[in-house]
Symmetry: C2
Subunit: 71 residues, 2 copies
C-alpha cells in the first residue's frame, strides 16, 4: 500500500501544504476543492486526475511537473 502512487502523492501534497503553513481549510478555500476531498487525497484514499492535479498546482503556484517532483 505504502508504495501506491496515490499514497506517495498524498505525502507530497501534505508536505507542500505544511511547508507553507497552510491548514486543509485554507487550501480548500484557495483551491475550491472540498476539505474532505483534500484529506482523502493526502491519505492516499482518493486518486487525483489531471484536472485535480492542475487545480492543486495552481493553488501552490507550481508547474505540474514540480507538483509531482519526487512522487
Amino acid at each position: 500500500m505504502a508504495n501506491d502512487i496515490c499514497v506517495k502523492f498524498g505525502r507530497r501534497l501534505w508536505e507542500l501544504r505544511e511547508e507553507r503553513g497552510w491548514n486543509q481549510k485554507y487550501l480548500a478555500e484557495i483551491s475550491g476543492i472540498g476539505r474532505t476531498h483534500i484529506s482523502q487525497l493526502e491519505n492516499g484514499r482518493r486518486e487525483a486526475g489531471l484536472r485535480m492535479l492542475e487545480t492543486l498546482a495552481d493553488a501552490f503556484k507550481l508547474r505540474l511537473a514540480d507538483l509531482l517532483e519526487g512522487v
Copy 2:
C-alpha cells in the same frame, strides 16, 4: 478546449511516443494500456489519473515529473 490540461497532456504523450518511433500498438503492448485508450488520451478525450500517469511514465522509463514536463 485547446488549453485543457487533457489536450495538453495528450500532445505531450503523442510527442514522447513519436520521438521513440513507437506506434500506438507498440505503446499499448509495453504498457498494458488498450490502444483505443491511448488514442483517446492523445486526443484529450480522456482524463488520465495518477495510476495511469505512473503506468505511462514507467513505459517511457521516465519519472512522473518528467512525463509532465511542459504540460
